[in-house]
């Protein structure tokens, strides 16, 4: 392996900063990293050759310009995205004037700040090792910056090994603190998280909007049921409920003072935990009809949608209870009836006529619903992802001309028919189905599962779910969109879908991710208490947490002190001392032990007195030892002397009584 070139502090400070920028590269507008990498390149080029660096005035002007650009783009300097962009740009400018060791430390500090920003934004399973690697890089840069001076630089390999070793020593403490450092239940403050792209279902529906969504293979949320999950045709995940129709677009309409209708729950309750992926929207999803808001962060609207107080910007977990069959115990209010039967009067005249005809031929609202569904079943309708474009009277166009549509078309047409026939009806958007992950034992609901259906008010029953898509394409209720319409999703997702082994691998990966999110990312105070309970604490609380935390800290400190403190003071005896030790042990076996206070010369005299017969052989050895140990001689000479001494000690054979033998 080629030896890595040792680099100076400036290069490493620049590398550390550049990787910090890379960690945040997808969170800032593209020109931000481009500009910063330009600055980094500029500074690095200036090391080797005389590229002029900007003066103070140019730098200040550049800084002002970039602050203005960030302000213009974000309208604020506050918030994670704007702050990160600013840090990236100002770091780049700082690098341009980086000369001293202090400046280099500042660059490494900025890089660690960027790491923090990246952590606050995302903490996926794959990102964590990258974050750790970045911390390692920063520590390596610290070592190199600290070492580098005019006399040379630390080897890259040595610095990396040193940083890695230090971080490994720190790892047990990090784990212990992670487990036992008391977490806070709430936040002290919040910084605004600005302008992340919203994903998932919107609050409007147009004929093509759901189709766009189904092309995405991204995860919307994961759901784990306590007990058995509902059957496939019951897995309707409720999202925004749409009331207002202008002939083309369906909208939620203004929030109103309606309260949820009191319901009678039929059938068994489903209790489940949902881990919602960030969407920057306020929708929480529940299985069909939730019995109430799962926690104070969200509320249940009058149309049984869960809406959060804040947009979902990070992984959010909640536990909810739902019923798939309900009956209303109250009559629909006249206001609600008015609202959910309203249609734009000048649109879709043929549909209105058709509805009136159908209603006239039906004995009840229920029969009317059945008649409308029969129309879809027998009217030559087909299910397609790529329906033809619709004209101004979109429902007329769909029902009488194209007859090809996706779930949105059917729901819209059905609700329009119902309203025209005087039956209160509304469009519900959400997701249908979900993919079972056998490893993690949960459902993954993806954007490709997006769906829309209808709800109609039936006397004596209340709001009832009707899914006209299921009439046209009954398979949709049991199978995912991928199964049904492979072209619905993007090519990579199709690629995965068509290869079972890959799909299985991805299932595992998803399960691992879910575990990571649940157990590590969302590790909180309650989980800490759970760990304590597992350790055998009866009534764990913050005090017990403190005790364990302190004990772990002390144990680690003692371990580190022991690990790192003993080596420098317990010098390995050098070769000469070891050879001398061997000689002394040989003599001891021959009955000539050395007093610990006796020097070699005194020892020689002692031996001469006790065993004059051995003196001739041993005295020169001891003299040589004394000479090598205490005499002055050059390094090379000394080394040769030590080697000779070792050999002679090895050759020495002593017999207890017969004197000396030489081989």
């Amino acid at each position: 392996m080629a030896r890595l070139t040792p680099r100076g502090g400036l290069e490493w400070a620049a590398i550390a900063f550049a990787t910090g920028v890379v960690l945040n590269i997808d969170r800032v507008p593209a020109w931000v990293p481009v500009a910063t990498f330009g600055f980094i390149l500029w500074r690095l080029l200036a090391i080797a050759r005389p590229v002029p660096l900007p003066g103070t005035i140019t730098r200040s002007a550049l800084a002002l310009l970039l602050v203005a650009a960030v302000l213009l783009r974000f309208r604020t300097l506050n918030g994670l995205s704007a702050g990160t962009a600013l840090l990236v740009l100002m770091g780049g400018i700082k690098l341009l004037e980086t000369r001293t060791r202090r400046d280099q430390y500042i660059m490494i500090g900025a890089s660690l700040f960027l790491l923090l920003a990246a952590c606050l934004d995302r903490q996926g399973l794959l990102r964590s090792p990258v974050y750790l690697a970045h911390a390692w890089l920063c520590c390596t840069a610290l070592a190199i910056v600290a070492y580098a001076d005019s006399s040379g630089s630390f080897g890259t390999r040595a610095a990396m090994a040193l940083a890695a070793r230090s971080l490994l020593y720190a790892l047990p403490l990090a784990v212990a603190l992670f487990l036992f450092f008391p977490r806070l239940p709430g936040a002290f403050w919040a910084i605004p998280r600005s302008s992340q792209a919203q994903t998932g279902l919107g609050d409007t529906m147009t004929p093509g909007s759901i189709t766009e969504l189904t092309a995405s293979y991204e995860v919307a949320f994961r759901a784990r049921f306590e007990g058995s999950p509902p059957p496939p045709q019951e897995r309707y995940w409720r999202g925004p409920v749409l009331h207002e129709f202008d002939g083309y677009t369906w909208r939620r309409g203004p929030a109103s003072a309606y309260h949820p209708q009191p319901l009678e729950y039929l059938g068994m309750p489903y209790r489940y935990e949902v881990s919602l992926e960030p969407s920057s929207r306020r929708w929480w999803f529940s299985l069909d009809t939730a019995s109430g808001a799962p926690d104070p962060r969200a509320f249940l609207t009058y149309d049984y949608q869960l809406v959060a107080a804040e947009p979902v910007t990070e992984l959010t977990t909640y536990t909810a209870t739902s019923y798939t069959q309900t009956r209303s115990r109250a009559e629909i209010s006249s206001l609600a009836r008015h609202r959910d039967t309203r249609l734009p009067p000048d649109r879709n005249p043929r549909t209105l006529g058709l509805a009136r005809k159908l209603r006239a031929g039906s004995a009840s609202d229920h029969a009317f619903v059945t008649a409308a569904l029969d129309l879809f079943r027998t009217g030559g309708f087909s299910y397609s992802l790529t329906p033809p474009a619709l004209g101004r009277d979109s429902v007329d166009d769909f029902l009488f001309n194209t007859r090809v549509g996706f779930c949105g078309h059917y729901a819209a047409a059905f609700v329009t028919l119902m309203r025209a026939g005087g039956v209160p009806a509304r469009v519900v958007t959400g997701y249908l189905g979900g993919e079972w992950n056998p490893i993690g034992r949960y459902f993954i609901v993806r954007q490709s599962d997006a769906h829309s259906w209808a709800e109609v008010w039936l006397e004596g029953r209340g709001w009832a779910r009707v899914d006209p898509t299921g009439v046209v394409e009954p398979e949709r209720l049991r199978r995912g969109i991928l199964d049904l319409l492979p072209n619905a999703v993007s090519a990579p997702a199709r690629f995965v879908w068509s290869r079972p082994w890959l799909n299985a691998a991805l299932e595992r990966w998803d399960a691992l991710n879910a575990w990571w999110n649940e157990r590590v990312v969302r590790f909180n105070y309650e989980d800490q208490l759970g760990v304590l309970a597992n350790l055998g604490f009866n009534s764990p609380g913050v005090r017990q947490l403190g005790w364990v935390f302190a004990a772990a800290l002390i144990a680690w400190l003692a371990w580190i002190a022991w690990q790192l403190g003993r080596a420098p003071l317990a010098p390995m005896p050098d070769r000469l001392a070891r050879a001398y030790g061997r000689l002394c042990r040989k003599l001891t076996r021959a009955g000539l032990g050395r007093e610990s206070t006796q020097g070699p010369l005194a020892y020689a005299q002692e031996i001469e007195r006790a065993r004059p017969d051995l003196a001739e052989a041993i005295r020169p050895l001891l003299m040589r030892y004394a000479d090598l140990r205490f005499g002055a001689s050059g390094a090379r000479q000394r080394e040769a002397g030590v080697r000779g001494f070792e050999q002679d000690v090895a050759r020495l054979r002593l017999a207890l009584s017969t004197g000396i033998k030489r081989r």
């Binding site: 500090g109 971080l167 403050w189 003071l569 390995m572």
Partner: protein, 341 residues
């Protein structure tokens, strides 16, 4: 006020540690450690990360913060151990002539199996030198000492310091070894060398006259005439050697302080120093007569030193009052030690 605090601290450390006798092994009792400015900033950064991590209940940020905290504590131990157990074997500063710079040579030994990096040595005067010492190895470092005036340059204490490995902490110690560097008077003066009690007065025998006895070669010393250097040997990449001839029979010179009338004391001493250097170089025998002291005629390295030392210390009390101590006031400009940053 600051200086007085520094002095009081120095006195306290001196009282606490006592006087050292070389070789000195640096043990825990004498090692001091504090965070550097970079280390303090790093700590502040970690506090910020901790607060942010707690506030947002962000596990990644918290774990990384805890890892960095552990890292910092580990680096503290590493910094401490980098100096722990190092031995200062010797410290010596050979005499030099005034108006030059002397060299204080320190020998450091690392008896342990782990290498030591970036051990800085420093004088209170500000001179620093940094070295690495390999495992079981030893290394010498040279510190520059200013020798502006004749007399003694006294070094009261040495500092050994390290910021290795990450520059977050500095570990240091003071070693109190009373060290003196003798500074000979600057050899100058234009007066002709006086003849001695003997023959061939006034003749300077700088070169081999043919009759002198060949003594051999010796290493070059300050003040040796270039004409006596064995350039042929030097061309063969030998060290700079000087040919020495014995002229014992031919010359005996007497250098008398009192004889140099009309000059002030320092000028006299400088003139005498020059004569001593020249006479020694020429291989002549010479005696030095100072008020109250007489160094009988002789020649050779030992004799030269005795004469120059007598000149160096002439009129200076042997007690501390006459010596020149390196003090913070004499700090050399432009050489502020890097580790203070």
């Amino acid at each position: 006020m600051k200086a007085s605090l520094r002095e009081r601290l120095a006195r306290w450390v001196r009282r606490r540690q006592g006087l050292d006798i070389l070789p000195v092994m640096l043990l825990r009792r004498r090692l001091y450690i504090i965070p550097t400015r970079a280390g303090a900033a790093f700590g502040l950064l970690q506090i910020l990360m901790l607060v942010a991590g707690l506030n947002y209940a962000n596990s990644s940020a918290l774990f990384l913060t805890f890892a960095l905290m552990g890292f910092t504590l580990v680096s503290m131990h590493q910094c401490h151990r980098n100096l722990l157990g190092v031995r200062l074997l010797s410290a010596a500063a050979p005499p030099v002539f005034a108006r030059s710079r002397g060299i204080l040579t320190l020998a450091l030994e690392n008896p342990s199996a782990s290498a030591r990096y970036r051990i800085g040595t420093a004088l209170d005067g500000g001179a620093t030198a940094t070295t690495d010492v390999s495992a079981h190895g030893s290394h010498t470092v040279a510190l520059s000492l200013s020798a502006s005036r004749r007399g003694r340059v006294r070094v009261d204490r040495l500092m050994l310091i390290t910021r290795h490995p990450f520059g977050l902490f500095r570990t240091w110690t003071w070693v109190h070894v009373p060290l003196e560097m003798l500074v000979y008077p600057y050899p100058q003066g234009s007066l002709p060398m006086p003849g001695g009690a003997g023959e061939r007065q006034g003749v300077r025998s700088l070169t081999n006259t043919g009759s002198d006895e060949w003594l051999g070669l010796r290493p070059f010393r300050d003040g040796d005439s270039p004409r006596q250097v064995d350039w042929k040997a030097y061309a063969r990449e030998a060290p700079l050697l000087v040919k020495e001839y014995s002229t014992t029979a031919s010359q005996l010179r007497r250098f008398e302080f009192e004889a140099l009338r009309g000059l002030h004391t320092e000028a006299r001493l400088e003139q005498l120093a020059r004569w001593v250097v020249e006479a020694e170089t020429a291989g002549e025998r010479y005696e030095l007569v100072l008020p109250g002291a007489r160094i009988p005629a002789d020649h050779g390295r030992e004799h030269r030193h005795r004469c120059l030392a007598a000149l160096a210390l002439f009129g200076l009390d042997d007690a501390a009052s006459g010596t020149v101590a390196v003090s913070p006031a004499e700090r050399m400009p432009g050489s502020a030690p890097a580790w203070l940053a």
